[in-house]
């Protein structure tokens, strides 16, 4: 392959375009208002939010990989935070076992959702929407009936503040310390990215998930146990949603029913911007991270400029719709070119 065609491929890669756009916007906001480059108040929280939202994006990506949607990501995150929070509050669990309880709750919920989809043959987005409604009431009900007016579990396990407040800065090798802008919260996120990336790029299971997503019948005929793959995809989705929920609870410092209520839009923004197809069969793991960071740069950048919540919403909605339309235009151009050749 010549250098030129290689370069062309790199430039036309959606992720590269996305990354360039993120960097340009980042610099633009920074030069417009230098407060945007403030480590403690802007960049550190931005990366910390990015860590949480990347994981929720990955949760959605697992469902998207088989061509399903998971509209209950936010509520699954809430249930996981509920499970972890109550384990800390009533069973006095320490940090890691509590997280494991949360992750288990999310995985079980995901598996049950997958099972319902497979057994009832109802469209996934209907099942997950109904699940979302049922869990919405359940979570609030549990919080209110157990904790009364506070509606939150406030017991903080030992070590929680470490995860929410510190950065790599305290780790030094000789004189060289980590950057203070790098939140500890980014570590579970990077691990999740690596594992999900490995799953889809290197393992048989990942390829079978993608095959199920791109053509269910073909996958079935080639001997892939598609029902089990659907359940597994939703279990992963629940697991990652749970991780995001627990991470958000740690970031906020409390376990409340509101956790996950803002997850739906970001869970789609990251993967969709990154180039994950809504119809299944193709995922963009690293793209999810870049897409999430792009939306966060826009969000934080605008809010540093003193622009209110309402404009942020408008901007993010427009970004989603534009990304979707661009994807469609791209597809149309490709098919036109193909037709021209034929």
């Amino acid at each position: 392959m010549s250098v030129a065609s290689k370069a062309k491929r790199v430039i036309s890669d959606q992720r590269v375009i996305l990354l360039a756009l993120t960097v340009v916007l980042f610099l633009f906001f920074g030069f417009k208002n230098s407060a945007f480059f403030n480590t403690d108040f802007v960049l550190y929280p931005l990366l910390r939010d990015g860590a949480v939202l990347t994981v929720i994006g990955l949760a959605q990506l697992c469902a998207l990989s088989i061509g399903h949607l998971n509209l209950a990501v936010g509520r699954m995150a809430a249930v996981a935070a509920l499970a972890a929070g109550s384990a800390y509050q009533y069973l006095h669990f320490s940090l890691i076992p509590g997280v494991i309880v949360g992750l288990l709750a999310g995985s079980i919920l995901g598996a049950v959702t997958g099972l319902i989809i497979v057994k009832s043959q109802v469209n996934a987005f209907i099942v997950t929407l109904a699940m979302d409604f049922a869990l919405l009431g359940f979570v609030t009900f549990i919080y209110v009936s157990f904790t009364g007016a506070t509606a939150a579990f406030i017991t903080k396990p030992k070590g929680m503040d470490y995860w929410r407040n510190t950065s790599l800065h305290q780790y030094c090798i000789a004189k060289l310390c980590g950057p203070s802008v790098f939140p500890m919260m980014l570590i579970p996120s990077i691990i999740a990215l690596a594992l999900v990336g490995f799953l889809f790029a290197r393992t048989k299971l990942g390829r079978e998930l993608l095959a199920t997503g791109s053509n269910l019948r073909a996958a079935k005929l080639s001997g892939i146990p598609v029902d089990r793959r659907v359940i597994i995809a939703h279990t992963f989705s629940g697991l990652l949603a749970a991780l995001a929920g627990v991470m958000l609870a740690f970031t906020n410092g409390s376990f409340t029913a509101a956790i996950g209520s803002q997850f739906m839009l970001p869970s789609f923004l990251g993967p969709v911007l990154g180039g994950t197809l809504l119809v299944g069969g193709s995922v963009a793991v690293l793209g999810t991270f870049i897409g999430t960071m792009l939306t966060l740069v826009i969000r934080q950048g605008l809010s540093v400029q003193g622009i209110g919540l309402e404009t942020l919403n408008i901007a993010l909605g427009l970004v989603l719709l534009t990304a979707l339309s661009l994807g469609q235009i791209q597809k149309m151009l490709v098919s036109l070119r193909m037709r021209g050749r034929g």
Binding site: S120, L129, F133, F138, V144, L278, G308, A315, G317, L324
Partner: protein, 326 residues
């Protein structure tokens, strides 16, 4: 004949019975307070919005899609009405008309975007919902707008023979919608698209047109719901529409509309909205936590979906069995 009638009307019939029994229990346990003029009036008045937003969701469900933006559209359009009347002193009819057109226009935009991108309406309306929430907050800010002419709330409080006028508007709208689906060719085409898009296309139905019509109609119905809202509430603030989503899905799904598309159930949706309203009343009466309502409704929706799918599959299997025996 009678048997098939009951089979087809099973959902509606059982919902009606549940509604009557539930209402009876509530009347009995409240020692008849529910039958007093004021509480009955309140019950019926606040039934109007759930019915109309249920219809707004139903017309999109019937093409196998969904409209996540019903609440945000209602918030924006009622916000537009309130701002025009209170701050710009538009005449009531003009403000209501503009608000209605805004909702209808947004519905048309939703439909156009779905047609252009060929994506499911769910993700498109997720986008427009976010944008509209932004506009709603911009429009209403954190105030309660209530500086509009008193004749509007007066109109909202009117009743004919003890029956609130706005509930009549809601029911009249539903009847028109029912006629649209049962009597007009356009309505039939929309249903055909929802039932089987490929078959519809092969028989000459433009699916894109059906999608556009369904979403536009959904917007228009949200516009009606906004008019009802502004006429029946003392003021408009940014919370309007925030709790519309669950009830907009609950009424049609419980009422027997298949989420896969191809069916409408106008009467079922109305009765289901009534049953949901009863749960709400029961909550107030026994002073339970509000979350119990969404829990109950959510569980009922989930089990309705599962049950209807199970019934559909059973009937399919029965049909296959018949084919074999022939």
């Amino acid at each position: 004949m009678l048997k098939t009638f009951f089979q087809h009307r099973m959902t509606e019939l059982s919902l009606t019975i549940i509604f009557i029994i539930g209402f009876g229990i509530l009347v009995a346990t409240s020692h008849g307070i529910l039958l007093h003029r004021n509480s009955l009036q309140g019950f019926l008045t606040y039934l109007a919005v759930p019915i109309v937003i249920g219809m707004a969701q139903m017309v999109v469900l019937c093409i196998g899609q969904m409209n996540l933006a019903v609440g945000a559209m209602g918030g924006v359009s009622s916000g537009v009405m309130a701002v025009l009347m209170a701050q710009h002193h538009y005449p009531i009819w003009l403000a209501l008309l503009i608000g209605f057109l805004v909702a209808t226009g947004v519905g048309a935009i939703n439909g156009a975007l779905v047609v252009l991108t060929q994506l499911n309406g769910f993700i498109i309306t997720l986008g427009t919902m976010t944008i509209l929430l932004g506009f709603q907050y911009r429009l209403v800010r954190s105030f309660t707008i209530d500086g509009y002419p008193i004749s509007l709330p007066n109109f909202g409080a009117k009743s004919v023979l003890g029956f609130p006028l706005i509930l009549m508007i809601a029911i009249a709208t539903s009847v028109l919608l029912s006629l649209f689906f049962s009597r007009t060719a356009t309505g039939r085409r929309v249903l055909a698209t929802g039932g089987n898009a490929l078959a519809a296309r092969l028989s000459g139905v433009s699916n894109n047109r059906s999608v556009l019509i369904a979403h536009t109609l959904s917007g228009a119905l949200v516009g009606v719901a906004s008019i009802i809202t502004i006429a029946s509430l003392p003021g408009i603030n940014r919370s309007i529409g925030g709790d519309w989503m669950l009830s907009s899905f609950a009424a049609p799904i419980i009422g027997g509309v298949l989420m896969a598309g191809g069916t409408v159930a106008v009467y079922g949706t109305i009765v289901a909205a009534g049953v949901v309203r009863l749960v709400d009343i029961a909550r107030a009466q026994y002073s339970l936590d509000p979350s119990i309502v969404s829990l109950t409704v959510g569980v009922v929706v989930l089990s309705t979906v599962a049950l209807s799918e199970w019934r559909r599959r059973r009937s399919e299997r029965a049909r296959e069995g018949m084919k074999v025996s022939r």
